[in-house]
Amino acid sequence: MSATTQTPALPAVREQLALRRRADRWVQRLITLAAVVAISLIALIFMFVGRESLPVFFSEEIHKEVTLNTLFLPQNYGIPEAPLPYVWQPVSEVPKYSLMPLLLGTLKVTLVAMAFAAPLGILAAIFSTEFAPRWLRESIKPVIELLAGIPSVVLGFFALIVLASIIQDQFQFDFRLNAINAGIALGLAVVPIIFTISEDALSSVPRSYRNASAALGATPWQTAWRVVLPAALPGIFAGLVLGFGRAVGETMIVLMASGNAAITSWNFTESVRTLSASVAAELAEVVFGSAHYHVLFFIGTLLFVITFILNWIGTVTVARLRRRLAGADR
């Protein structure tokens, strides 16, 4: 700078430099603001969905129709038409809001989806990282990403029109649309998640582990199953947790393919109604501010909280695994 102090243009230059510095600082502020916005978005979602569910907890007016007790505990409605302790029947003379059939329905469909998707996704990931030649591996990954790109409404359509008929022809269940049908379609949406995260975890296991195992005389399968898989287990667990979260919240597939009857039973061949599908099906016709309206937002809050916790567990596990394996040499 000392060389330029003699030039007459100095004040102008200095002013320009100051301007640039100020602009630089403003850009930094704006960019940092974007991060703050990202945080506030998730907070806003929780606040605005949660706010509409508050009356379920606190409003005297709403408590005449529904309380936390009626949502979760067995009820005796004292009418012969509804002798069951858990009934979801929000639109009737005596509205009945038990979340139990919906929770059970969600669980049933999700279990089928996981039973279908978990083995497929994990085994395919093992194949891709351990046994497939490089060219095959490089083509499996994008194709499964493509599966993830199928809109859920299309999977729902496929399950409703095609898959349900196939299952019906094969097994003759009493209900054409049932938990198994919806669960398999849901599994198709979950497979890419489990595959991708498991694949990442398996391929982040250092090569030295495999070499050491092979040097001790283990066969390729023994190496994959007893050395690589245990080392990547937290990542695979995370994949399962995130897949589970996706399955719990997924809406269009179950809305279209599950039959939507709120039945409280463990029979997987009966129609089911899930939490998400109830919100999707009922919110459009509900009276603004009614008990039913607030209960649907309560379900939304419940879904938000469940998936939030699952996601948090998933991401923390992945981060921990990455840190643990990062030190080892490839």
Binding site: T32, F157, T219, W221, V279
Partner: protein, 304 residues
């Protein structure tokens, strides 16, 4: 000798099993695509793509639904991509990895990606329609119902938030492939940090921005649950012409047509054709994005 032979065949069985799992996934994908394309093909025509539905959806085309879908994703991109790019720049260029802001915003984006799409629908209704929309009506329109109802703009903004993580991940991935030496060279020439980012780093990462935008559009075009209560309509006689109009949407069209049609067999060919258009649109976008991304990955491997 015998045990070795045993071990090898056990190995073969299990390895085949894993290969079979991979094959099964690919086969199911092929079956879905094959079924939809095969059935959808016969009904697809120029007229189907560019005319409005007639006769209670059993005749005519789906132009309004295509138009509405494109309009929503366009608005969504305008709102979501700049914000996504800014957050990605923060993550990769500005953030101090140990700071609470970095850790919290990172966790927020991760969690945002996991929020169920139906919850976005509730949020869109509670926040955009009832809070923001009603607020605007009271402030600017004297309480007359204008923006306080399901509308194009609210659907687009809801979708923008839903797809934000997609944009952020792609842009950040691309920013990370820009060699540090470029940034150093730029600062050595006297550029400020902002100048370095906007004139050197970001142009290098343009493909990532593009990928992020495309993936977001692909995702946004296919999501139905978030817009159920925020502006999608089954049938409208006119194309949407302002931000507070409702709109028709391909995905919503598929949903209503397949679940609420009085005559399923009559609408089936139309339904299949609509699904193939939706699938074609999202697949095309995803294919382009995956292609760009694969090239990017290879370039990143070359830089190291």
């Amino acid at each position: 000798m015998n045990t070795r032979w045993m071990r090898r065949s056990v190995d073969g069985v299990f390895i085949t099993l894993t290969g079979f799992a991979a094959l099964l996934i690919l086969a199911m994908l092929a079956a879905i695509l094959g079924n939809i394309v095969l059935h959808g093909w016969e009904r697809l025509s120029f007229e189907f793509l560019f005319s409005a539905p007639r006769q209670g959806m059993t005749e005519g085309g789906i132009f309004p639904a295509i138009f509405g879908t494109l309009l929503v994703v366009l608005l969504m991109t305008l709102a979501g991509v700049p914000l996504g790019v800014a957050v990605a720049i923060y993550f990769s260029e500005y953030a101090d990895r140990g700071s609470w802001l970095y850790r919290w915003s990172r966790q927020a984006v991760n969690n945002l990606a996991g929020v169920p799409s139906i919850v976005f629908g509730l949020f869109g209704l509670g926040f955009f329609v009832q809070f923001a929309g009603r607020g605007i009506d009271h402030a600017l329109y004297g309480g007359r119902l204008t923006f306080g109802q399901p509308a194009l703009i609210w659907a687009a903004l809801t979708m923008a938030i839903l797809t934000l993580p997609v944009v952020i991940v792609s842009v950040e991935e691309a920013l990370r492939t820009v060699p540090q030496s470029l940034r150093d060279a730029s600062s050595a020439l006297g550029a400020t940090r902002a100048q370095t980012i906007f004139r050197v780093v970001l142009p290098q990462a343009m493909s990532g921005v593009l990928t992020g935008g495309i993936l977001a559009v692909g995702r946004g075009a296919g999501e139905v649950a978030p817009i159920l209560f925020v502006g999608a309509a089954y049938f409208l006689p006119h194309l949407p012409s302002s931000l507070n109009d409702q709109f028709m949407h391909l995905g919503y069209h598929v949903f209503v047509l397949s679940t609420q049609s009085p005559d399923v067999e009559a609408t089936k060919p139309l339904l299949y054709a609509t699904v193939s258009v939706l699938l074609g649109l999202t697949f095309l976008l995803n294919l382009v994005a995956i292609a760009i991304r694969t090239r990017l990955r290879l370039a990143a491997a070359g830089n190291r």
